[in-house]
Each structure stands twice: as C-alpha cells, then as structure tokens.
C-alpha cells in the first residue's frame, strides 16, 4: 500500500498545525485554501492575547514549517465536493480538479459576525463605529483611525458580546475570545494613546484562559480602563464627529451616557457559511449541524465528526475557540487521523493476505 494521503480543507491555524503534525508523522498532506495566502483569520490580527505576541511572527513561523516535502499547499482552490469511494475520499474543486485521499480534516474556521445586523450600534452608518477586526488593522497601520489626528485624548468604548449571547440575532452561544480580546485591544489602544479614556461595556467578563484574568487586572490597575457592566442599548450620532452611547450601568443601577470618538464592536464568531451551504455536497452518513457549527459525535471525542469514518474536524468550525485551543485541537486531531490510518492500513493488509 502507498503512503497514505490526508486532505485538509482550510489553511488557517487549525489546518496549518494539523498539516505540520501529520507531516512529522510521515503522512502526506494536501492542504487546500480558498484565499490567495494561507493563514486564515490569523493573518488579520496585529497582536495576540494574553501575551501581546506578534501575530505576524507566529504566522510566519507556522507557514515556514509547512514548506515540508510531505505537504502540498493549494491556494485559491475552492472545494466543491467531498465524496466517498470505497475506503477513500474524492475531493473535487470548483476547477474540476480531483484529489484522492485516505482521510479528510475539515478546518474551515469561522466567520466574524456581520455587525450591520445589530443596527442599533450604527456600524456602517456612523464612521466612528468599527469592528474589533478593523481596530487590529488600525493598530498595524493598514487602516486610518476613525477620529482626527489632532485628538490627543480620544475617548473609546468597547462593546462586548456583539453577535454573541444574543437570541435576537439568533446567536445564543458565547464566542469565548471577545472578552479577553477587548481587554487586550483596550490596553493596546491605551499604549498608542496614553491619554485616552477607555470604557468596556460587558455583560460578564469571561477570563477563562491562562493569563487572561491577570491581563484584566493589568487593564484596570496599570491602564485605568473603566469596566461598565451593562449592554449598550444604542449608539447615535452626536455633535463634533462623536458617537453618543447609552447603556444601563447595572452595578450602579442607573442609566449611563457618554460621547465617544471611537466605538469598537467586539464581533463574535459565527459558523463558516461554507459548511451550511455545502452540507448536501459533503458525502457524510448523517450530516447534521448544530447551530451551524460542526457537531461532534460527543463532547469528549470532539475531533471525530459524526459517525463517518475518515472525516475529521478541527478548530473553530466546531465552535468558538481561542487560538491556543485551536492549535492544540489541530495537533490532537492529527494524532487521531494517524491512528485511524494505521488501523485502516492493517485492515487492508489482512484483506490482501486473505484474498
């Protein structure tokens, strides 16, 4: 039997790390990416929480690692169909290319919540209202600040849970990373504008990861960032190119208002639309999507997708997760794939002997 091949769909952090781990285990990988460059959502970020690690450095070192003889990267390839044939899988692209592989890992990631859906926050209507992604681009100089250069002490607000924990827009889940991301971005903003006044409007502060709670305290003590418990009710335009926000300060038991130069919406994670659109094109035994994210067989074996042998999923296509969790999940999935292929190979050898 030939050296087995695994197809990985999506070259974001999950796909890249799964590919690297498999290659290290002498397994050949076809890595598909619909964008021009690998990197996924990671390529949009400036620094990473909780240690302010430079996103570009991480991405560069990860991409360096995939220049491996066992890994073949296909960019600008959109996968149209995944079909089963005996014990193998046929992956077809929009350009009608076909790739045969012994296992598949779906690493299609997430989309950011479309902030225009929360119209009361005025994204796309008032120029001072931006998303957390756009703020990262401002940090790395790829985008202009939404306020005048003359403003030495800009006032900024961060709205947590935009498109998360919100049945009104159909997203009941917590996107997990936005709390700490807001804290990170607030600190980074204060570093660039030390005289700035920064408020975070939160529902709960879910500092679940290592170093997150410490970062939160740092934001309070070292950077004097104000945390206000209460969801923003609305943003409206105000005099002097400002945006006026209203919220209930639930700890003070009083309504609160403020004029801001910049309002950052911490947009949550939504399932990658790709999966929903193409569910019928993926030849699974029981295709089922829970809230649009890939539903694992059971929570404690989350790398295995459904009951279909040979199809795996890793990263945020299974639900919101931090980058650190995604990398670990991808590596664990790679091991599961390795074990699966080894077992399959043994089965084939037994089959060949008996015939």
């Amino acid at each position: 039997m030939q050296q087995p091949t695994v197809s990985i769909i999506g070259a974001g952090p999950a796909g890249l790390n799964a590919a690297i781990s498999l290659a290290k285990m002498e397994i050949r990988v076809n890595l598909f990416e619909k964008q021009v460059k690998p990197g996924g959502q990671l390529s949009h970020w400036h620094t990473l929480f909780p240690d302010m690690y430079d996103a570009k450095t991480l991405l560069k070192s990860t991409i360096n690692e995939i220049s491996h003889p066992h890994i073949k990267l296909y960019t600008t390839v959109n996968i149209r169909q995944i079909k089963r044939q005996n014990n193998q899988w046929i992956i077809s692209s929009d350009g009608n290319q076909e790739f045969i592989s012994d296992a598949v890992i779906i690493t299609s990631g997430f989309n950011l919540f479309d902030a225009t859906k929360k119209e009361e926050y005025g994204y796309g209507i008032y120029p001072q209202v931006i998303t957390s992604l756009e703020l990262e681009q401002m940090f790395n100089g790829r985008r202009e600040w939404p306020f005048s250069k003359d403003i030495e002490a800009p006032k900024a607000g961060f709205v947590h849970c935009v498109g998360s924990r919100d049945t009104k827009c159909g997203n009941n889940w917590c996107s997990k990373v936005c709390c700490v991301k807001a804290v990170k971005q607030a600190i980074e903003f204060k570093k660039q504008f030390p005289k700035a006044e920064v408020s975070c409007f939160y529902m709960d502060l879910r500092m679940f990861g290592k170093g997150y709670e410490e970062l939160y305290m740092k934001a309070q003590v070292d950077f004097n960032i104000q945390f206000i418990r209460g969801r923003l009710s609305e943003a409206s335009p105000s005099n002097g190119n400002k945006v006026h926000v209203k919220a209930e300060d639930t700890l003070m038991n009083r309504p609160l208002k403020q004029n801001l130069d910049m309002l950052v919406l911490m947009v949550g994670m939504t399932p990658a639309i790709w999966l929903n659109q193409h569910a019928e094109r993926i030849d699974f035994e029981k295709p089922k999507f829970k809230q649009g994210f890939i539903n694992p067989v059971e929570n404690y074996q989350s790398t295995i997708y459904q009951n279909t042998p040979g199809v795996f999923a890793a990263g945020t296509c299974k639900g919101p997760a931090s980058l650190i969790d995604v990398i670990q999940d991808a590596k664990a999935t790679a091991f599961e794939v390795f074990a699966y292929l080894k077992k399959e190979k043994q089965n084939v050898e037994i089959l060949e002997k008996t015939t």
Binding site: T116, E119, E234, S236, P237, S238, N239, K246
Partner: protein, 349 residues
C-alpha cells in the same frame, strides 16, 4: 431582499383612501387635517373619503385602562364597517395612537381569530353592521412621504434659510406607536425612521440626527393624564430639548398629535419653570406637523392652516424661509380681526 432597517420602505397605496381623523389634533393644530385633504384632493387629484359618523377610536381611554378590550375592538370594527359600506379598502389614519390601535387590533385578530368573530358578533348585535379587513393601513405621514416628490415638483419653496443660504436644520420626532409596535408598518422601522427625515431631505432641508432622537416625547398617556404625573412627561421632553439644542435646529417636525402638541407646549412650560429656552433667540423652537410643512411647500396661507395656534411663534421660521404672508391677518376670524392672546412672559417672540 433588504438587509437593514435603514433602507426599509413600506408599501403605500397610490389612491382611494378612507380617512379617519384624530380626536385632539383639530384643537392644537387646527388646519393640519384639512390641509392633508386639500393636498390629496386638490393638488394631487386623489380620491379620499371621509364619513362624518366616524368616532374616536377610544385609544386614549384604552391606553389608560378606562376602555376594555372588547369595547375598543367593537369601536374599531365599527370604523371599518363605515369603510366597508363606503366601498374603500385603504385605511388612512391621521393619528399615531389610532394608527397603533388599528394595527394592534388587526394583528390580534390575525393571531386570535376567535376575537375577530367575537367583535363581528358584538358589532352585529349592537349596530347590525358588517366589516371587512382593510387591504392597507397607512398613516397620514406615510402618504405625504409617498407623494413627497410630487409635492416638491409642484413647489417653489426650498427649506433653505434665505438669510444665510444654508439648508434649514430640522429635527424630526416620530410618535412611538408609529413604528415601535410594528416596525414593518413604518418607513425605516423603529430604529431608523425616515418618514419625516425623507421629507426634509427631499425638500431641501438638513436632517439632524441627535442622540435622544428616539426618546419618547413624554406624551405617554399615564404620564400626562394625571396632573401629579406630568412631571415625568415634562422631564422627558426636557431630555429631548437638551439633546437637540446644541445643533441649533430651525424647527421640529413631528408626526404624532401628542408629540407635536407637547414638544410645542412644554417649551413654554419649561421656560416658565426654569427660565430656559432651547434656541439662541429665546423664541423657542417652532414645531410643525408634516401637513403644515407640506402646506407651506404648496404655498398655503399659514394662518388659514391654523399656525397661529402654536405655542411657539412660527413667524421667525417664516422669515427664514422668506415666506410671503400677511402679519396682520394672524388673528382674523371670518375676515375680521379678532382679539389676540396675551403675550407669554418668557418666550419673547
């Protein structure tokens, strides 16, 4: 498919309306409803029918817990019966409270058909009348919005300050029951109402979006019906005035009877209580109804539209517009001068 409320447009019929008036508008803005009829009939050649047997919708009583649900449903059924008898299908409502009432009853009947049957029976027993469900329910401001381009074409007026050449700055106030109950029934929904701002933009003015634009004017029935509660009402109006004042608006336009009335009258009361007015000249900010503004666009005499009945004098606004009007006709009745009201001590003009 439209993605955002910002762009949302409501369907409004082009002709053949059955018009139902407001209980209170003719007291506070006496020419507005007549103006709407004249605009639709004389300027736009539309067919509008009014039945003198039409009564109050009892909305104020309903919202203040005096009128039970069964009663208001039957009253609404009776108004619809008058429309059915006249052969009309498009209901045109002058008052935002009534507009909300009609929509609420129709929505309730949709979800609870037994309530509709109950209403039909009650109406049959009490008046021997039958009614049909209207094909459309439009607020009078919807219709003015619908014909705003036609009105502009027939007009020589632009909402421009003749003294400075700049567009007039206008703040709008939308009645809460216009779209906050049923967002699909209003242009722009509840969050981005465009029914009045659309008029201002089309007619050459500058629309001002200010922080408390969506705040209730304070008309809330429970707030003003009992004298002791009126402090809530006026305090809400004050929040709005304080929020709009920095923009120096030339006038306020409102589409709800209560809002227009309170935004007009509370300015005087606040001036009496606090000594404060919210414009630079201590005149107060004039408050117009959409019919009055449309009437001005079409060259009507402000005094025949009843604009002398406003608490805040509209003459400074007419001067800004360069509008031709006769000062001395302001207090005329049947061609003869009548006694003018005594001047307010606080609002100067």
């Amino acid at each position: 498919m439209l993605k955002t409320w910002n762009e949302y447009q409501k369907q409004v019929p082009d002709d053949h309306f059955f018009y139902v008036r407001s209980c209170i508008r003719q007291t506070f803005f006496p020419g507005s409803e007549t103006m709407l009829l004249r605009i639709l009939r004389e300027h736009l050649n539309k067919d509008v029918f009014e039945d003198p047997r039409h009564t109050t919708c009892t909305g104020i009583g309903y919202h203040s817990d005096i009128i039970p649900l069964e009663t208001i449903m039957t009253v609404v059924g009776r108004q619809l019966a008058l429309m059915t008898e006249a052969g009309y299908k498009n209901l045109l409502v002058s008052c935002v409270t009534s507009f909300g009432i009609y929509l609420e009853m129709l929505d309730m009947w949709k979800h609870f058909p037994e309530k509709l049957e109950e209403t039909r029976n009650a109406l049959r027993k009490s008046t021997n009348r039958e009614f049909e469900i209207p094909e459309s329910v439009s607020h009078a401001s919807d219709v003015i919005f619908h014909f705003k381009d036609e009105i502009r074409e027939k007009s020589n007026l632009k909402l421009i300050n003749k003294l400075t050449g700049q567009p007039l700055k206008v703040v709008d106030h939308i009645g809460c029951h216009y779209a906050k109950i049923f967002p699909h029934e209003g242009f722009g929904g509840a969050e981005f109402p465009s029914v009045l701002s659309g008029l201002i933009k089309t007619w050459g003015g500058e629309m001002i979006d200010y922080p408390e634009r969506r705040h209730c004017c304070g008309f809330g029935f429970r707030h003003y019906l009992v004298q002791e509660n009126r402090g809530y009402s006026i305090s809400n109006a004050k929040i709005k005035f304080e929020s709009m004042a920095p923009y120096k608006p030339d006038f306020i336009i409102a589409n709800c009877p209560g809002c227009a009335m309170f935004l007009d009258k509370w300015q005087y009361t606040l001036a009496e209580m606090t000594g404060k007015t919210y414009d630079t000249e201590s005149n107060g900010i004039p408050v117009l109804t959409y019919e009055e503004l449309a009437g001005l666009m079409l060259g009507h005499n402000p005094w025949q539209m009843g604009m002398q009945m406003h608490q805040i004098n509209v003459e400074p606004l007419l001067e800004k517009l360069g509008y031709k009007y006769t000062k001395k006709e302001k207090f005329y009745l049947a061609g003869k001068p009548t006694k003018s009201p005594s001047a307010c001590s606080v609002l100067m003009a």
